[in-house]
């Protein structure tokens, strides 16, 4: 399996997990979050960012 397909599969799995947990994150957002943590962002801070964004832009 090439790395790209593998990454996509992993992202799929993560997306399903996030749906199970009812986080309300879509694929795109999740992908961005993954890349941000890849770059070393602190996940808890990132969660805080997402919460804030949700608060600022209530859908």
């Amino acid at each position: 399996m090439d790395p790209a397909a593998q990454a996509r599969a992993t992202l799929d799995a993560l997306h399903q997990v996030s749906q199970l947990l009812q986080t309300g994150l879509d694929r795109e957002t999740l992908a961005l979050c993954v890349s941000l943590t890849e770059m070393g962002a602190n996940p808890e801070a990132l969660a805080q960012v997402l919460k804030e964004l949700r608060r600022i832009y209530p859908s």
Binding site: L20, V34, L36
Partner: protein, 893 residues
């Protein structure tokens, strides 16, 4: 905070089109991060289709804000182990959904992720997990307090143990917005209708952000002034600077005032007392019938508001909510009085602190003299108020959760807090519970001592249906209402209490033994153990149990002694289940003629007359005259074509106390059994009549060559049938009736249990007979068996008719041949030509052969039917019936 460089290929994939640069230096990397954050923001800031013009107005600012958060030092929580993250998620899923479906799905997903993980992802994977987890935790936090969650099993709302120091508001935007928006921004709307309380522990808003130039222009109230305001707030009175804002449901510090942030924090914490008091008071007074009146009665004076409202309100509580609610109100009012006492003391301290220094020596000397000499300060107040605050919190939670509850349910709710781990809470709840449960125990006392239900508001766990006749009193007059059983009483004790009261009423009204009840209630009321109140549950249970045992024993002794229950049971077995053989035999002999008539031409009184003469002719005449008086004939509903056999049944009348044991339903069962047994008896009786007849008369037919064959086969079939009926009777009599009776008898001899158990035992006895006597309609198989048996009886009866026809024909033939012989003899002397064959002879012969064929046909049907029954018995689930099958089989194959 920036981690080691990640692999470019992965980044390319993950960023979905992010320029794939190799991050070699730091600036490139931070640019990439900034880029990613900006994209993230833009996803969120996508124009809402409803409001297209509200586009990305401040995305720049927001991005900057997000970057700030990211670069802040929010430390990762201790656990950075991916197993831990996975476990925690699993636990949450399990708790949310008991079916484990989600948890299983999650486990399999974890497996997928694990398999596909390559080096580049392995590190960040559990970071993502944690990210999801912390978002999830946040969602959970919004829905319910983690403590709520912990108590959710018992349904207890949590009482916060320590004053929480609220988290500082987020840097962005400002505090007041975050106060307003946390609720509306809730992504899960179904939780947003939760009762709105102050958010994040805020009970007071103060604007602390002013340009320093403004501060000088504003008022700077002294601490004592603020203290005075706080005191007012404690009593739900607006102060000079702090006022209640009903729209926000929160206290607001006036805009014109500036206080230092630390003081502001103290004020916030203190204002919770006022807020809680306000809540409790408003709810409690809304329960009062004329809350407005009591509110007016409350002096509006500042420090004099010393709870005269308690007495007024307690006396005027609304009647709709019931006595228990009134008790609850009274208990809370008492606690509120204590609150006012506290305020009075505080006020005392406060005035002391205002007094000139000279009077300070009057303060009673104690180790803390030098402290108290300083009087009151906000900090000190904060410490002193700690315990009362806890109390108020608890009361507020109680008041909140009591909404909509009444009677026993309310008691259960309050009692639930006895399970709280905090001894302080337990103590308080116990005190309250004593107060609240007083009316309940009053009712309980009346119920178990006198059997009287004094419950004007339907709060007790027993409900009376006054329309029920005395006949059905035991069964349906009183019902137990499970939701009204207070949890401290327990199901079993409540059931016993219910039975005690019911038994008392039964004794009083059905057994006409009022004197016993009155005497008992007097005895118990004077005895020391008769005191009922909340507290010693073990003693209560003990006294209830002993009362229950004694009252049940009394009822049983009444039934068995005064009302001769045993005699009636025996009579039912004797007469309705055909235990008295000679009477049945006699009846069968005498009734036979009458019952063969069509059902609608039968007169009940004729049958009753026959019954009476049969009784006199049999051993039944020595039975109790009371029993014989109750025995009667009853004709079931006549449907066209029925003969007397189908509608005749014996009846046994019971009256009140006894009829409780024999309700309509049981009597129907008895009658059904009687019909079946009577039918069987009839078949057996008529078979034996035919057999007897055959034995005496067939010899005279021996010489008729063409008829001998018929009588020979008929004898064989007849003996098969007799075998069948005898075996069936034997089975029903010994294996069903007597076995069940022994079972019942051995239970009755013990004289234990209560009336319900007695009725249960009797029902079990009847059901046993019905099911094992092939009569039960439980399984379809059984139902078939019953109808098959009835069908077989009919076949047997048909066979008999055919046989007796044949016998008649044979007699006719015999008579004729006798006549012919004598005529022949005479004719010898007359004209020999007359000695010709007579035509009647021919028709008679035809009739005989037709009847014979008919009989053979019936015999065939009988054998085929019996075979079906035997097969059904072989496959029957009840092992006892297999023995019956073997016995019924004539040839014992």
């Amino acid at each position: 905070m920036l981690g080691p460089p990640s692999q470019p290929s992965a980044k390319h994939q993950m960023d979905q089109g992010q320029p794939a640069k190799t991050e070699t230096n730091k600036s490139d990397k931070s640019a990439a991060i900034h880029n990613a954050v900006a994209r993230l923001v833009s996803i969120f800031a996508r124009p809402n289709p409803a409001e297209p013009n509200k586009t990305r107005e401040n995305t720049e600012e927001v991005t900057a804000f997000c970057m700030r958060i990211l670069s802040s030092r929010i430390a990762p929580t201790a656990a950075t182990d991916s197993n831990h993250v996975v476990d925690t998620i699993k636990k949450r899923l399990t708790r949310r959904d008991k079916s484990l479906k989600d948890a299983l799905a999650f486990t399999s997903l974890c497996f997928t992720i694990d398999n596909s993980v390559t080096t580049f992802l392995s590190r960040s994977l559990f970071f993502i997990g944690e990210l999801i987890l912390s978002m999830q935790a946040d969602l959970l936090d919004r829905r319910e307090n983690p403590l709520d969650d912990a108590f959710a099993v018992n349904g207890l709302k949590s009482v916060r143990a320590m004053p929480e120091f609220p988290k500082l508001p987020q840097v962005f935007p400002d505090a007041s917005v975050s106060l307003d928006d946390t609720e509306t921004a809730d992504p899960i709307p179904k939780y947003s209708n939760k009762p709105r309380g102050p958010c994040n522990g805020y009970y007071l808003i103060a604007n602390t952000k002013y340009p320093s130039t403004d501060v000088d222009k504003m008022m700077h109230p002294s601490e004592s002034e603020l203290l005075r305001d706080i005191m007012y707030i404690f009593q739900d009175i607006d102060g000079q600077y702090i006022k209640f804002n009903p729209a926000l449901d929160i206290f607001v510090l006036s805009d014109k005032v500036w206080v230092p942030p630390t003081t502001c924090e103290n004020l916030r914490l203190l204002s919770e007392v006022g807020w809680l008091y306000r809540k409790v008071k408003s709810v409690v007074s809304s329960w009062s019938a004329n809350s407005s009146a009591s509110a007016e009665a409350e002096p509006r004076g500042r420090f004099n508001a010393f709870a005269p409202s308690a007495a007024v309100a307690a006396s005027t509580h609304t009647m709709e909510e019931g006595l228990i609610r009134q008790g609850f109100c009274a208990g809370i009012q008492k606690e509120l009085v204590k609150h006012f006492e506290l305020i009075a003391q505080l006020e005392n301290q406060f005035t002391k602190s205002m007094e000139p220094v000279g009077s300070e020596q009057n303060v009673p000397s104690s180790p803390s003299t030098e402290f108290s000499a300083k009087g009151l300060s906000l900090k000190r107040l904060l410490v002193w108020i700690h315990e009362p605050l806890q109390k108020l919190r608890l009361i507020q939670v109680l008041v909140d959760s009591s909404a909509g509850l009444r009677g026993g349910a309310l008691l259960s709710m309050v009692h639930g807090y006895m399970n709280h781990g905090d001894p302080f809470v337990q103590e308080l709840v116990e005190g309250l519970l004593k107060q609240i449960s007083a009316p309940f125990f009053q009712m309980l006392k009346r119920w178990i001592y006198e059997g009287e239900l004094n419950d004007p508001f339907q709060e007790f766990f027993v409900v009376e249906d006054a329309n029920v006749e005395e006949e059905a009193m035991w069964r349906s007059r009183y019902t137990l209402k499970n939701e009204m059983i207070p949890s401290f009483l327990g199901r079993s004790v409540a059931k016993k209490c219910y039975l005690i009261g019911k038994s008392l009423n039964f004794i009083r009204f059905c057994c006409a033994e009022e004197a016993f009840v009155i005497q008992r209630s007097q005895e118990l009321a004077t005895s020391p153990s008769g005191l009922l109140e909340y507290g010693d549950m073990a003693a209560l249970e003990k006294s209830v149990t002993s009362a229950y045992t004694s009252i049940s024993a009394h009822i049983l002794s009444l039934l068995f002694g005064k009302y001769k229950l045993m005699t009636h049971l025996q009579a039912l077995k004797k007469y309705l289940l055909l235990g008295q053989g000679d009477l049945v035999q006699n009846l069968m002999d005498k009734l036979g003629a009458d019952l063969s008539k069509p059902a609608n031409s039968i007169m009940r009184h004729n049958l009753a007359g026959i019954l009476e003469s049969s009784i006199r002719a049999s051993n039944a005449q020595h039975d109790d005259p009371d029993v014989l008086r109750r025995l009667d004939v009853r004709l079931l509903e006549v449907s066209p074509g029925d003969s007397g056999w189908d509608v005749f049944t014996l009846d046994y009348r019971t009256d009140n106390p006894i009829s409780t044991v024999f309700p309509m339903q049981s009597m129907h069962q008895y009658m059904k059994l009687f019909t079946f047994l009577w039918r069987l008896k009839r078949v057996e009786h008529s078979l034996s009549v035919s057999w007897r007849k055959g034995m005496t008369e067939y010899t005279s037919f021996r010489n008729m060559a063409d008829m001998r064959h018929y009588f020979h086969t008929s004898s064989i079939v007849l003996s098969e049938m007799i075998h069948f009926t005898y075996q069936l009777q034997y089975y029903i009599l010994f294996e069903v009736l007597e076995c069940s009776w022994t079972e019942l008898n051995s239970y009755l001899m013990k004289r234990t249990g209560d009336l319900d158990q007695l009725i249960g035992a009797h029902n079990k006895y009847l059901n046993n007979i019905t099911s094992r006597g092939l009569l039960a309609a439980t399984a379809s198989n059984n139902q078939n068996l019953f109808s098959m048996l009835i069908g077989l009886f009919d076949v047997i009866l048909k066979f008999q008719t055919s046989l007796s026809n044949l016998v008649e024909l044979a007699e006719e033939r015999l008579m004729e041949s006798k006549q012919r012989t004598s005529r022949d003899y005479e004719n010898q002397f007359l004209d020999p030509r007359l000695n010709a064959k007579e035509p009647t002879n021919e028709t008679l012969k035809d009739r005989i052969s037709a009847e014979g064929a008919n009989m053979d046909e019936i015999a065939k049907t009988y054998r085929a039917d019996l075979q079906v029954i035997l097969e059904a018995l072989t496959s029957h689930a009840d092992i006892n019936l297999h023995g019956l099958r073997v016995r019924l089989d004539y040839n014992a194959k």
